[in-house]
C-alpha cells in the first residue's frame, strides 16, 4: 500500500511539475517545476523497488549474506535512483546557468522572449 501511495505521489509530482513547467513562463519557475517532476520520478523509482516487510539492502548482523535474498528489498532501483538524482542535479545546474545567461542577454526571464529562432 505504501508503495502505491508513494508511487501515486510520485506520479502526481511529475504531473504537477509538468504543469508548472508547461504553463509558467518564467525560466526559474520552469526549472523549479522540473526539479519537482524529477523528484516525482525518483519517488516512483524507489517505490517500484519497495517490498513490504523487508529491509534496506545492507548486509550486517541483522541481514546475513546467506539470508539476504529473503530479507532485503530490491537494491537495483536504489542504485538507479542515485544515478538519476545526480543526473537531475547536473541538468538543473546547467539549466540555471543557461537561465542566468539568458537573463543577462535580454534582462528577462520570460521564455516567450526567446523566440528568435523559429519556423
Amino acid at each position: 500500500m505504501i508503495a502505491y501511495l508513494a508511487m501515486a505521489t510520485g506520479f502526481l509530482l511529475i504531473l504537477i511539475g509538468f504543469y508548472g513547467a508547461l504553463t509558467n513562463r518564467n525560466l526559474l519557475r520552469m526549472i523549479v517545476a522540473f526539479t519537482i517532476a524529477d523528484s516525482g520520478v525518483n519517488l516512483v523509482i524507489v517505490a517500484v523497488g519497495y517490498m513490504r516487510g523487508r529491509t534496506a539492502p545492507i548486509l550486517d548482523a541483522t541481514v546475513p549474506a546467506a539470508d539476504a535474498a529473503a530479507r532485503i528489498i530490491d537494491p537495483v532501483p536504489q542504485a538507479l535512483v542515485l544515478t538519476a538524482i545526480v543526473i537531475g542535479v547536473g541538468v538543473t545546474a546547467l539549466m540555471l546557468a543557461y537561465a542566468y545567461r539568458l537573463y543577462e542577454k535580454k534582462r528577462s526571464l520570460d521564455i516567450a522572449k526567446f523566440m528568435d529562432l523559429k519556423w
Binding site: 504553463t23 524529477d38 520520478v41 516512483v44 543526473i87 547536473g90 541538468v91 545567461r101 526567446f114 529562432l117
Partner: protein, 1053 residues
C-alpha cells in the same frame, strides 16, 4: 583489436586530463583532444576492418567481471563498429572543423566534445537500458554545452529549449525503464527482450505501457515531426561543426538505440516506428520547402532522413536481413553528406541559401556540394541508391505501396529543395564575402567527399557480393566520365578531344554487340554525341565542370542501352538525369528550369522505380533486378499498372503533354552546345525507354482501357499542343524546345500505334529529330551567341552575314516540316502508311492538324532570324564560330544522305521489327520503298525535284542577269520609306491572327496546374511550420502532445 571500452576510457581519461592542463595551454589541449579522438576513431576503424575483412564474430564486453544481465555489458559487432566509426570520425573531423571555436573556448569545451563523442559511442555500444539512459543524458548535456561554441548568440536559447525538452524526455524514459525493469526483472536489453517474450498477458500490458514510454522517449530523441522544433533551432544556431555531429553522430546513435529498443518491443511496435518515421520524413521535407536559411534547411533534411531510416527500421518484418543493408546505406549516406554540408556551411559567411553562391569559383567545393547532395538524394553510385532500390523492391513485393509512394514523394520533395539550393549556389550573385579557407575545415570537407565516393564504391561491392551485381562505380563509361573530374584542370580543347575520342572509341569497341534497334540509339548516343561535342571546341578556357557533367550524361545513356536488367537500367537512367541536370544548370538563366527538369525527371524516375518494384513484387523475379525482357511475363492485374508507371516515367523524359513544362526552359536556357545534347540526344533516352517497355510488355488494358490508345491520345495531343505553343514563342530556342515537345509527340504516337510502321516511324523521328534538332539548336545557338539575344524579333536579315547557319536552318526546317525531298518526308510517309493500319482515328486527326502547324513556327524561325531587316547593331556580325558551324555542315550532309538513302538506317531495323510485328513491313526493292498501301522512291524524288529546281533557277538567273542588287530599305513602302530596321521588321507576335483564332488552346493549363501543386505545397508548408513558434515551452507541450497522440493512436489500433 583493442577492447572497445577503450573508446570510452580514452575519451574520459583525455577529458579529465584536460582539466589538469593550464587554461592557457590551449594548443596542447587541442592536441590531446585530437589524439584522443583519433585513437577512438582508430579503434572503431580497426574493428570495422576486422568485421568487414575477416568476418570476425561480434564481441560482448563485460564490465565488472560479471556476466550480463547482472552487470552492464557492451557489444562490438558489425553495426556497432560501423556506427561508432561514423560517430568518431564525425567527432574527429568536426574537431578539425571547429578548431577556432575550440581554441577560443578552451579546454573545457574540448572536454565536452570528447565526452559527447564518447556518449554517442556509448549509446551505440551499450546493451543495458539504464546505461543507455545515462549515455543519453551525457549526450544531452554535452549537446547543451557544445551549442555554446556557436558565434550565434541565439544558440543560447536553443540550448535552453533543448534542455527543457530533454527533461521531459528523461522523465518519460526513467518511468518507462523502471516499470520495464519491474516487469521483466532485468535492465539488460537482450534479457529484457527475452523476458518480454515470456511475459503473461497481464504483465504484458503493463510492460507494453512501460515500453511505450521508453520507446517514445527514444523516438523523441530522433526529432520526430512535428515534435522537433527544438532540434531545428539547434541545427540552425549551433556551430556548424557541432550541427554536423548533432546530425550525423547523434542521429546515428539515437537510431541505433531505437533499433535496440525495437528488439525488445518486437514486431508489434514496428508499425508505430514506420508511421512516425514516414510522417517525419514527408512532413519535415515538406516543411523544408519554404526555408531560406541553410542550416535550418539542413536541419529539416536531417530530421527527414532520420525519419526515413526509422521507417526502414520499422519495416524490419519484411526487410529481414536486408534491414541493416538498407538502413546502413541510408545512414552512412546521410551522415557523410550532412556532416559534409555542415562543415561546408561553416566556410560560408552568409546564412541565406543564396549566400552559397560564394562557393562558385571554388570548383572543389562545388564538387563537394554536389557530391553531398547526390549522396543525400540517393543518386547512383552512392549507397542511398542501392538502399532505395532494395527498399522499393521489398516494399512493393509486400504490397506496401502506399509507404513506398510516401517515401518516394518525400524523396522527391527533398531532391527539389536540395537541388534548388544547388541552383542558388551555382547561379545566384556571388556575395561580397569570400568563403573562408580554414585548412582544417577544408580538409574535413574533403575527407567527407572522399568518404562519400569510397562508400559508393563499397556499397557497389557489397551489392555485388549480396546480389551479384556489377559495381556501378566500376562501370567503364562511368569511370570515364568521372575521370574528367580529375582532368578538369586541362584546357577545354584537350578535354573535348578526349571526350570525342572516348565516345567514338566506345562505339568502335562495342558496336557489334547491339541489335539493329539499339544500334541506332547507340549511334545517336555516342557518335551523335561526338558530333555535337565538336561544337564545344568553340569554347575557350578550361570550362570547369562541363565535361564531367556531359560525360556523366553520355555515360548514363550508354549504360542505358547496354543495360539488360532493371537495376542497370534504372541506375543508368538516374545517372543520365543527374548528368544532364548539371549540364543544363550551366546555362546563364537556367536555374529554375534546371530545377524543374530535375524534379520532373526524378519524379519520373521514381515512377519507373515503382514500376520495376511492382513488377518484381508480382513474381516475375524474386529480385528487383531482373531481365527487362521478362516484363513480358507479367500477368494481370499487375501488368497494366506496371505499364502505366513505367510509361508515365518515360513520358516525363519525352515531355509528353502535361509533363512537359520543364522542357522549354531547360532546353532554351542551356548553353549553345548543350541544347543539342539535351534536345537532340537526351530526349531519345525517354523514347528508348518506351521502346523497351513496349517491346517487352506490348498492349495492356486497364479497366478495359487500352493503354496504348491512351498513349496514342497523349502523343497526338502532345504533338498538337507542342507545335501550337511553338508558334507563339518569341524566343528562338524556346520555339525549338516546344517543337521538340511536338516531335516527341509524333514519336510517341508512332510507338503507341503498335504496328510495324508505327515503330518505324518513331525510329525515323528518333533519327531525324536528332539530326535536325541538333542542327537547328546549334545554328540558333550560334546566332544567339553572336547577337547576344534569343528574341527573334531582335534579329533579322542575318542571311548575308551568317550564310552557313542560314543554310543549316533552311535545310533543317525543310526536313522538319516534312516537305519532300528531304528526310522529314520519309517520316511523314511512314506515318500515313502506319495509321492506315490502325483503328484509332480521332487521335490521328489531331495529329493531322499539328503537321501544318509545324510549318508555321519553322517559317517564323527562319524568317525572323535570317530574313527581313538587318538591325543596326548587327551590321558587323560574323558567321557563327567555326566549330559551331562544322557540326551543322555535317548534319546537312547527313540529312541529305538520309533523305536519299533512308535504307541505310531503316532497312535493318525494318527487318528486326519483323520479330515484333511480322505484318506490315516495308518492301525494299532497289530504290523503291513499298508498303501495303503506297510506295516511295526517295532517289527519284530527289532527282526530279533537283532537276526541276535547277532548271528553273538557271533560267531565272539567266533572265535576271542584269538585276540590280539593292539594300534593305529599298522596298516599296507606299511611296514612303522605312525609318528604322526595328520598325520595319515584322516579327513580333508574328502569328497574331492565329493567336486570335486558336490562342485559347495554348493557355498554360499544365503550368498553372503544376504551379498550383507546388504553390499549395509551399503554402501548406509555410502555414504548418508556424507551429514552430520558437517558444521552448510550446515545443515541450508539443512533445507531450506527440506522446499522447501516439498513445491514443496506438490504443485505437
Amino acid at each position: 583489436m583493442v577492447n572497445a571500452l577503450f573508446i570510452i576510457a580514452a575519451a574520459l581519461a583525455a577529458a579529465f586530463l584536460l582539466g589538469l592542463l593550464k587554461e592557457q595551454w590551449r594548443g596542447a589541449a587541442y592536441a590531446v583532444t585530437l589524439v584522443a579522438l583519433g585513437f577512438m576513431t582508430w579503434i572503431s576503424a580497426d574493428w570495422a576492418w576486422a568485421f568487414a575483412m575477416n568476418g570476425a564474430a561480434p564481441v560482448d564486453i563485460f564490465t565488472a567481471g560479471t556476466e550480463p544481465p547482472f552487470a552492464i555489458n557492451l557489444r562490438m559487432g558489425r553495426p556497432e563498429a560501423v556506427l561508432t566509426l561514423i560517430v568518431n570520425l564525425t567527432g574527429l573531423l568536426s574537431a578539425l572543423a571547429m578548431k577556432d571555436a575550440l581554441l577560443a573556448l578552451g579546454r573545457r569545451a574540448m572536454a565536452v566534445l570528447l565526452v559527447a563523442t564518447m556518449a554517442f559511442c556509448g549509446i551505440i555500444l551499450t546493451r543495458d537500458i539504464f546505461n543507455l539512459f545515462v549515455f543519453f543524458e551525457l549526450a544531452a548535456i554535452s549537446t547543451a554545452g557544445l551549442i555554446l561554441l556557436s558565434d550565434d548568440d541565439r544558440a543560447l536559447s536553443a540550448g535552453f529549449k533543448y534542455l527543457i525538452v530533454s527533461q521531459v524526455i528523461s522523465v518519460f524514459l526513467l518511468i518507462g525503464i523502471i516499470f520495464a525493469y519491474h516487469a521483466t526483472g532485468t535492465l539488460n536489453i537482450d534479457g529484457m527482450a527475452d523476458a518480454a517474450q515470456a511475459l503473461l498477458p497481464g504483465g504484458m500490458q503493463a510492460f507494453a505501457l512501460a515500453f511505450f514510454l521508453m520507446f517514445m522517449a527514444l523516438v523523441a530523441e530522433l526529432k520526430p515531426f512535428p515534435a522537433n522544433g527544438w532540434a531545428l533551432d539547434i541545427y540552425e544556431s549551433a556551430h556548424p561543426a557541432y550541427s554536423a555531429i548533432f546530425s550525423a553522430a547523434a542521429g546515428t546513435a539515437s537510431l541505433y538505440a531505437v533499433d535496440k529498443l525495437l528488439l525488445i518491443g518486437g514486431a508489434a511496435w514496428l508499425p508505430a516506428a514506420t508511421g512516425i518515421g514516414i510522417v517525419t520524413f514527408v512532413g519535415a521535407n515538406l516543411l523544408a520547402l519554404p526555408q531560406t536559411k541553410d542550416r535550418r534547411l539542413l536541419g529539416y533534411s536531417s530530421v527527414a532522413q532520420i525519419g526515413l531510416i526509422l521507417a526502414v527500421l520499422g519495416q524490419r518484418d519484411v526487410l529481414g536481413d536486408l534491414t541493416s543493408f538498407i538502413a546502413l546505406g541510408l545512414l552512412v549516406a546521410h551522415s557523410v553528406a550532412k556532416a559534409g554540408l555542415y562543415w561546408l556551411s561553416g566556410l560560408i559567411a552568409g546564412r541565406e541559401l543564396t549566400a552559397w553562391a560564394a562557393l562558385r569559383g571554388h570548383p572543389l567545393m562545388v564538387f563537394a556540394f554536389a557530391t553531398f547532395l547526390c549522396l543525400l538524394v540517393g543518386l547512383p553510385p552512392f549507397p542511398g541508391f542501392y538502399a532505395k532500390w532494395e527498399l522499393a523492391r521489398v516494399l512493393a513485393a509486400e504490397g506496401r505501396l502506399a509507404l513506398l509512394a510516401a517515401i518516394l514523394f518525400g524523396a522527391l520533395v527533398e531532391a527539389g529543395y536540395l537541388f534548388r539550393w544547388f541552383g542558388h549556389a551555382i547561379k545566384r550573385d556571388k556575395p561580397a564575402e569570400e568563403i573562408s579557407c580554414a585548412p582544417f575545415s577544408v580538409a574535413a570537407v574533403c575527407i567527407a567527399v572522399v568518404a562519400g565516393w569510397a562508400l559508393g564504391l563499397l556499397w557497389g561491392e557489397m551489392a555485388g557480393f549480396l546480389f551479384g551485381r556489377s559495381n556501378l562505380l566500376l562501370a567503364l563509361p562511368l569511370l570515364f566520365a568521372l575521370a574528367f573530374l580529375l582532368l578538369d584542370f586541362l584546357p577545354a580543347w584537350l578535354k573535348n578531344t578526349l571526350a570525342i575520342a572516348g565516345l567514338a572509341g566506345f562505339f568502335a569497341l562495342t558496336w557489334t554487340e547491339y541489335d539493329p534497334l539499339r544500334l541506332i540509339f547507340a549511334i545517336i548516343f555516342t557518335l551523335g554525341g561526338a558530333i555535337v561535342l565538336l561544337a564545344s571546341f568553340s569554347a575557350h578556357g578550361r570550362r570547369i565542370g562541363f565535361y564531367p557533367a556531359a560525360m556523366l550524361m553520355y555515360a548514363g545513356m550508354v549504360m542505358l542501352i547496354r543495360a539488360t536488367d532493371t537495376f542497370d537500367f534504372f541506375a543508368a537512367w538516374e545517372l543520365l538525369t543527374v548528368g544532364s541536370y548539371f549540364l543544363i544548370l550551366r546555362g546563364k538563366h537556367s536555374e529554375p528550369h534546371a530545377l524543374s527538369y530535375l524534379v520532373f525527371s526524378l519524379g519520373g524516375a521514381f515512377l519507373i522505380l515503382m514500376g520495376f518494384a511492382l513488377a518484381a513484387g508480382s513474381g516475375v523475379s524474386p529480385r528487383l533486378t531482373f531481365d527487362i525482357a521478362s516484363l513480358s511475363q507479367l500477368a494481370q492485374p499487375v501488368a497494366p499498372w506496371v505499364f502505366l508507371l513505367l510509361a508515365i516515367g518515360f513520358m516525363t523524359k519525352t515531355a509528353a503533354i502535361g509533363l512537359h513544362i520543364w522542357l522549354p526552359g531547360a532546353h532554351a536556357e542551356a548553353e549553345t552546345d548543350v541544347s543539342p545534347m539535351v534536345s537532340g540526344i537526351l530526349l531519345k533516352a525517354g523514347l528508348y525507354g518506351l521502346f523497351v517497355l513496349l517491346m517487352s510488355m506490348g498492349k495492356q488494358q486497364l479497366y478495359g482501357v487500352e493503354l496504348t490508345t491512351l498513349m496514342l491520345w497523349i502523343g497526338a495531343l502532345t504533338a498538337l499542343l507542342g507545335n501550337l505553343m511553338a508558334i507563339f514563342q518569341e524566343d528562338a530556342k524556346r520555339l525549338l524546345a516546344y517543337s521538340s515537345i511536338g516531335q516527341m509527340g509524333y514519336a510517341l504516337f508512332g510507338l503507341a500505334l503498335m504496328n510495324h510502321l508505327g515503330w518505324l516511324m518513331a525510329l525515323m523521328f528518333v533519327i531525324n529529330h536528332y539530326i535536325y534538332k541538333s542542327m537547328l539548336f546549334l545554328a540558333v545557338g550560334g546566332v544567339a551567341k553572336r547577337t547576344g539575344t534569343r528574341a527573334m524579333y531582335q534579329m533579322g536579315g542575318l542571311i548575308t552575314l551568317m550564310p552557313l547557319s542560314f543554310i543549316a536552318v533552311l535545310i533543317g526546317i525543310i526536313a522538319m516540316s516534312g516537305v519532300p525531298p528531304l528526310s522529314g518526308f520519309g517520316g511523314r510517309w511512314i506515318f500515313y502508311n502506319a495509321i492506315l493500319d490502325t483503328d484509332q482515328r480521332l487521335p490521328m486527326i489531331i495529329l493531322f492538324f499539328s503537321g501544318p502547324i509545324a510549318f508555321l513556327y519553322l517559317f517564323r524561325l527562319i524568317h525572323t532570324i535570317f530574313l527581313g531587316q538587318l538591325k543596326d547593331e548587327h551590321r558587323k556580325l560574323k558567321e557563327a564560330p567555326f566549330w559551331v558551324v562544322v557540326p551543322q555542315m555535317i548534319y546537312v550532309v547527313l540529312l541529305l544522305a538520309f533523305a536519299v538513302v533512308p535504307g541505310i538506317a531503316l532497312r535493318r531495323v525494318d527487318e528486326y521489327m519483323n520479330q515484333f510485328f511480322p505484318e506490315g513491313g516495308l518492301d525494299w526493292s532497289g530504290l523503291l520503298i513499298t508498303s501495303n498501301y503506297g510506295y516511295w522512291n526517295p532517289v527519284a524524288i530527289m532527282i526530279i525535284v533537283g532537276c526541276i529546281f535547277m532548271t528553273l533557277f538557271g533560267w531565272l538567273l539567266f533572265v535576271n542577269r542584269r538585276a540590280q542588287k539593292v539594300k534593305q530599305f529599298n522596298i516599296v513602302f507606299a511611296a514612303e520609306r522605312p525609318y528604322r530596321p526595328e520598325t520595319t521588321h515584322f516579327a513580333w507576335n508574328f502569328f497574331a491572327p492565329y493567336r486570335k483564332a486558336l490562342g485559347f488552346l495554348v493557355q498554360p493549363f499544365a503550368t498553372r496546374f503544376w504551379d498550383a501543386v507546388t504553390g499549395s505545397l509551399h503554402a501548406a508548408a509555410d502555414f504548418t511550420r508556424r507551429f514552430y513558434t520558437g517558444n521552448g515551452q510550446t515545443y515541450a507541450i508539443q512533445l507531450v502532445g506527440f506522446v499522447v497522440v501516439v498513445f491514443l493512436l496506438a490504443r485505437g489500433i
